[in-house]
Every structure is written in C-alpha cells, then in structure tokens.
Chain length 391, copies 2
C-alpha cells in the first residue's frame, strides 16, 4: 500500500482554490526548513535548563514566541497542537462539569467537541439574516442562558471569520458585550491570524486561538493559543502534584499544555514562514481586491450567487450555482463532476468534487494573473455549456 504513496503536486501543477488549504501552503523557507528539521526531536538539540520548548534559543523559539505575541497584540502566546488543541486547553482549564459555553451557530465542530470533551455544554448563538453574529444576539443568548440555566455562560467563543461563509463578524463589539457580563471572550482566529492584521488588545479578546496549518503557512498540526494577562496565570499554571515516593515535581512545565507541545516539523515550518506571514498580512487589502474582482466576474454568469457577505471581506467564499452549473449537471452523464472535470482540465483544483450546488472556494494568495485566469475559466465553462454570461 505504501509503495503507492501518490506524489502530491497540487500546488506545483494546479491553481488550488481549496477552501481550507490556501493559508496553509508552505513558504519556500518552510519547505527548506522541513528538509533539515524533519526528525522527531530536531528542535531539542539545544534544549538546556529549564528544559522547555519556549526557552530554546537555537533555533530561536524563545524570541519567536515573543514576536508572535506582539504580532497579534496579546500578552502571552504558546504553541499548541492545532487550533482545536488550543480550544481544548482553554476549555479544560476553565470549565467545570456542565458549564456552558456560547458558540456561534456557524462554529466549527472542533470547538464544540473541545467543549464536550472538557465536560462542558455548548449552546448556539443564532446569526442574523446576513449570517452574521451580532452583539445583540450575543447579549440575548447570555440573558436566555441566565434565565433558563440560572447561571451565566462561562465563556463566549466566536470566530473572527467563520468557516462556512467566510464572513467577518463584529468581534470587538461582541467582546464588549461579553465583558459587560464579566464573561471572558475567546476569539477563534483560525481564518484570520496569519492572513489579515489582528490586534487582540483592540478587539478585547481574552483568548485568541490561531491555526498554523490553516492560516500561517505551516504543516499540520500546529496552532497558537494567546491569552491576555488575566488568563495567562490560569492557562500557564504549573502542576501542583508531587511524587508521593520520589517527591519530584515539575514546576517549570505548564500542566494544561502537558509540557512541550510541538517539537518538530510543524513548529519549524511555522517559524520559518513567520517573516513572510508578518509581511503578507499587510497586503490583506489586495487579497480583498482580488476576491472581489473574482466575485464580480463570477456573478456575470447567469444564475450564479454569492452566499457570503458582499462585498467580500475575506477570501473564503461560499457560492450557489444551483441555477447555473447545477442545471447542466442534471443533464450531464458525469453529473456534478462535469464541473470538476472542466476545471481540472484547465488546471483548477480544490472545489469539492462533484459540487454544482452550494460550495466554497478560497483565493487567498493567488496572484492577479491566477485570479484573472480563474475568473475567465468559469466564464469559459459557462459559455461552453450555453449559460448566459453578461458582458
């Protein structure tokens, strides 16, 4: 079976518009770093007292962690084993059995699982008709929880940008509402940290969780968990139990993180990509221009709809082609795969195979040339199948 490991050439031979992959494409520096730092404990070569990942100076993980905290305007940052590991770390530290966390009705499943795994319960805040979580909806759900459960939620955890529509939510105003009730606010930055500028202090986030493999050009699994000063004590606390026979204790280790977290490939990738990531967030406006260029052209195809908020504020975009490409699919022997085929023939991959109804794409990091080509390709396919296209 393993002799048949297929070589992966998705980024080399195609334009990849996979909704979850764009922000995790490695930089050249990360690829180079992987070649030499692939081995399991390769980052531990120069791990000296006090023996903790974030103290290592060669490679300079210590400074990197500091720079990360500054980069997103938070007090402390720790490397975690993916965003979901960051969610769990917070939930495990914060929740008692049965405690309630409010999430968005668009929240990622991994956040819900982190809450349930930590013996908490999650309740959903509904979006408005534009698929946005409003501060009012947050306040209402807090009130409802108070009334129904006789207690306030322990935490509110909302995406900066959600994974379903790629909509930008008013997180600053949401944080304000939470703080009026004295409830901490966790910002899920899986689709924003490393992609667009973000300042946790300005937002008023108590926690920020980011994803290395989703938005910071790193291999999986790696993420970051940032806290403000108030909660760093809880999250980064030392273990308390001592050995009843040996008397040993593990004072320097952080119990919620289980000590060191990511000692190799994903962290070196995150670190090697970071200088480029810091620069790329400054060009976010241009990424927005590019997706809006694409949607403008995509909407020239009769029947096409954009289900995400317009104009686009993020590159992840949900589209509806039920009244265009899906009509063709209904009469095509390859059904919905006709669109996948036509795109692939033209060098485009990454939409869910067979989709012609409601599906997602992401243009993050594509060049203007690729964006224009991508826009043309959809029009070309539409025209080939006789769908009307505006001039």
């Amino acid at each position: 079976m393993l002799k048949n490991l297929p070589p992966r050439v998705r980024e080399e031979e195609y334009i990849n518009i996979d909704p979850i992959q764009r922000g995790g494409v490695l930089t050249l520096e990360a690829r180079k770093a992987l070649i030499v730092y692939g081995d399991g404990y390769s980052l531990c070569d120069y791990c000296f007292s006090p023996f903790r990942l974030d103290y290592i100076k060669k490679p300079n993980i210590a400074d990197f962690i500091q720079e990360l905290a500054e980069f997103i305007g938070m007090e402390t940052v720790r490397i975690v084993r993916g965003a979901r590991d960051g969610f769990r770390t917070v939930m495990n530290a914060l929740l008692n059995k049965g405690d309630i966390v409010l999430v968005s009705s668009l929240s990622h499943y991994s956040l819900c699982l982190a809450i349930e795994a930590s013996k908490g319960r999650w309740k959903e805040i509904p979006t408005d008709e534009k698929n946005i979580i409003t501060p009012d909806a947050v306040a209402e759900k807090i009130e409802e929880t108070k009334e129904k459960e006789g207690t306030l939620p322990k935490l509110v955890a909302i995406h900066h940008v959600d994974y379903q529509f790629g909509n930008l939510h008013p997180v600053r105003e949401i944080a304000k509402v939470c703080h009026e009730y004295d409830i901490p606010f966790l910002l899920n930055g899986a689709y924003t940290v490393g992609i667009m500028p973000i300042n946790g202090k300005e937002i008023g986030a108590d926690f920020i969780v980011g994803s290395g493999h989703k938005s910071m050009a790193a291999p999986s699994p790696v993420g970051i968990l940032a806290t403000n000063e108030e909660f760093s004590k809880l999250i980064l606390r030392s273990p308390k139990i001592e050995g009843d026979i040996t008397g040993r204790k593990f004072g320097i280790k952080e119990v919620e993180l289980l000590g060191c977290t990511v000692m190799g490939a994903p962290l070196i990738g995150l670190l090697a990509s970071f200088p480029e990531v810091k620069e790329r967030v400054k060009k976010w406006d241009e990424e927005i221009d590019k997706i809006n260029y694409f949607t403008k052209n995509f909407l020239k195809i009769e029947g096409n709809k954009i289900l995400s908020e317009m104009p686009r504020k993020h590159t992840l975009t949900r589209v509806d082609t039920r009244k265009s490409f899906d009509k063709i699919a209904n009469n095509h022997k390859r059904k919905g795969y006709f669109l996948t085929d036509e795109l692939k023939k033209r060098g485009i991959v990454g939409i869910f195979p067979g989709s012609t109804k409601i599906w997602k794409l992401n243009t993050y990091g594509l060049t203007w040339k690729q964006i224009k080509y991508l826009s043309d390709v959809f029009i070309e396919i539409a025209e080939k199948y006789g769908i009307f296209v505006e001039n």
Copy 2:
C-alpha cells in the same frame, strides 16, 4: 532572528547518540514524503464522506491504521498528537475528579501532567533495587491505595521501557496483577512501539500509547493510541450534544480525539516510514547485540559503570562516569565540556553537553561500523587522559 535559522546536520555529519532522538530519525521515504506533503492540509485532498482522517484512502491512511493495530496486536488504533496527547485522551475519558492513577516512580513527567490536567491524581509505584517495577510492587501499591483512599486506582500506567534507565519492565505480569483487581492497564510504549516487537494482546494491555517521533521514525508531534475492544467504545465514542438552534450533531467525529488529529507532515512521515519500521523491529536482537558490544567495551575503561540493567535489553542506556571522565573534568579548564569537545572532534554528538557524571546515550539504529567506532572513541579519549583501560 529567522535569517539565522541554523542548518541542522546532526545526522549527516555526526554519529548522534542522543538518548531521545535515535528512534525518531526519519527514513529516506519519510523525508521524501515531507517534501511533497508539507502543506497544512495536504492529507485532506481526498477526504470524502464521512470526513474523517482515518477513512482517507489516498494516501491510504485507512489501511495504515488497520495495519498499525495488527502490528501491535490491538483492537483499534488512532493517530494522536504525540504520546502525551494519547495519555491525556485516556485520562480525560476515564477519570473523574480526584481519581487515582498509579504510575512508576520512573514515569515520564508528561504522563503525570496528563493525569493532573484531567483532574486526577497520580501516585508512584516504587522500583526495586534494580530499578524495575515488579508485579509485587504494583499489587502492594494497589492495596495501599485501597486502604488509604478507600478506593481502587482507576488505572495503572507503566512504561514498557522507562526513559531513565532504559530498563525493560515485566509488563505482562504487571497487567495480570492489574486485571486481578479489575483495574485497566495502560502500557507506555514510547520507547518500544516501532523499535522492538510488541503484542498488546499477549501483554494484556488495555491501552497502548506509542510515540511517532520517539520510536517510529516520524516528525513530531505524532503518536498512536491503541485500545482493546472493551475500551475502544469509551475512547472512540461519538459526541452527544446537539446544537440547540441548528440541531446539528457530529456523529462520526470522536469526541475525545476532537475529530481529526494530525493532518499533515508528522502523519505522512509516520506512514512513509512504516514499512521500514515493520522490518526494523525484527532486527531488535541485533540492536541488543550492538549495545551490549558497546557496554562491554565501555566498561573496560576503569571507573565506568552502567546504571541500567545488564546485560542490556534496550539501546537506551544510563552510564556513570564519575570515577573516570569526571575526575578529568575536575582538573580540566573546560570542566565537563572536555568530554563533549573530545567526542565532537571525533564526530560524536548527542550526550548532554558538559556531562561527565551520570548521563544517557542511545545506540539505536547505528551500524556495526559506527558502534565499533563509538566504542573505540571512548577508549581513545580515556587513554588520552591517562585513564586505565583493560585489554
């Protein structure tokens, strides 16, 4: 800072005897795989319904997981984010607040932290004078716990081979004792799974935790968590909570794992190395011959001691050079670093810098030529400094 990322050439230019690194050195296949599967979500290209990592057929993760289970003689295996993530998964599923887990007095700190993070308590089982956890000691500690706490421990978690001495513990007999008390037994195979042959069924393990980056030639962080049939239901259970607004549920996802675990580099490395790992465990006897060849020669140096059990049953070995090299260090201007220097000059790295008292080394995977050279080097250094060496 990142411009100064030092190139890592430890495996290319040196003989590396780092105690924790030998089993994690990548195979050539793993290095090749990393180059093309570095990107964050690269393993998700062909993730179709039911959308779970261990169902993916291209690359064939589904079959790989099955083969892993057969490889170690267990019912189910899941990929986790390192051995400590495996410990936590079990503890979180099994423990209620205050529950006691018995560990070895030689246990790794990450096991203790996983218990404390899961709101449990850990108590130590003492080793005998040979630094072995005996079945009797386990039984005594169980009895002591019953008496002092009025309840049985919820779990016993013991290393197959411990990280301090590299001693092989009688885990089959320990498992038997645990089962007499109806207490489940977790085998910490961080130093054995992927290194030596192991059969969980024969041992009687309820859980086995293994480490990809420690012993399976994989990048960090990745590990495996295996269960027998009885406990697979608990560990792999589905989430129960449903969205109060959307009604959504995440039936296929496994709540304790938080859904998918390791979607990229470390898993592809584990997978690519696996055919070689399966072969290498068959050559374990030769690895034992090699470390015993080394220790025989090392003991020719007057004052040298081996603190691990003899003859060696594992390549990880703890030595005592207080009456040999440390005497030289006391009068050397570089102090203990003289030994590090002399070794490095001869192409040997990986012992903790400056160590001349009690320290560890690991010869796993070195060739006979390297083993002979390594043995000669220590003798050569001893002779250079006038330490008596037997013929």
